[in-house]
Symmetry: C2
Subunit: 211 residues, 2 copies
Amino acid sequence: METGKYIINDYLDELSSKAAVPGGGGVAALSAALGASLASMVCSLTIGKEKYKEYEAEVIEIKQQALELQESFLKFADDDAHAFLPLSKAYSMPRKTDEEKAARSQVMQQALIAAAEVPFNLIKTCTATIEMYEALLTKGSTLAISDVAVGAEMIITAASSALLNVYINTKLFADKQSAAEMNQTAEGLVKEIKERLGNVIEQVKIKVKGS
Amino acid sequence: METGKYIINDYLDELSSKAAVPGGGGVAALSAALGASLASMVCSLTIGKEKYKEYEAEVIEIKQQALELQESFLKFADDDAHAFLPLSKAYSMPRKTDEEKAARSQVMQQALIAAAEVPFNLIKTCTATIEMYEALLTKGSTLAISDVAVGAEMIITAASSALLNVYINTKLFADKQSAAEMNQTAEGLVKEIKERLGNVIEQVKIKVKGS
């Protein structure tokens, strides 16, 4: 079943089971989708308000972008499930003869690269939300300012979780240089996401916390 | 509609809209439910495995606890939605005469306390997951070690997000001492959650990251 068609209770039941998917990769993607959806909500609560009229055109654009990102993130949850199957098949390939071992290793390496690319691309897509949140900090309705921060929290968690899912795959790459490069690039992106969205969250905290 | 009956796509559509609920409070609760569900998944993948036989009884207990927490967290999402309605009603009460102002203020203060208690209790419940994750770090299947960290990430995000939702309500408390006390207690709990689950995540990172 595609993630998008799950009833939340059923999804949680399936998640809690020993079924191979969904797992941490799917949850990371869903977390990002929730984050993008909250950004869209903040836009929805801002559009049409006299107080924010000067930002209206920009906020309408941000909303469109947030909705597109929400859809992309949800697709990553399905991609994650799809990437797991070939990996699982590769693991169960025979490995008695040298030929079998070589064939298994080749299939597995391809499956590992494909499996690592899903969380890697999820992280890349998370970076596309940064400017959106930074803009909403000043241009979104102050009534929904805490939701800007909750959305940013969900994106940080999605990216941090995806990084772990990059690691568990790159760790088994035969090509250690590719593994190190992918890890480094992903770490750099996650660092930027944490710093800039962390800053958004801090600024929201200052605004919402009473003296 | 109760959160637990939502199809994920429909939930995201409703979330992204300007409807009063769900919002950041519901997402915080859902995030915690996803975290508890992942803890249960790790248990499911551990139970019955020869390698972890010595921990089996304990892991079965943790799974039961995780499933109960998953249900509690999902209930907080509905509680959050229910707490919003009286607050919204209080806002729209008349405030022309002094009597009306006083009546409105009293109703609003009660609604604010009720609205603050939902994220406050969510944070408290999040602390109940800490020992669970610490135990799974060594007693859960190493095949699902990254999921332990993703689960811990979801709980940290849930608690941090809930803290913002405590703030937006306590900020408007007439009783400033109660507000400060609730903030301080919540901050202390969130600090403990971040430190101890942050430590779990760091230890997972060391295990899953290749050299």
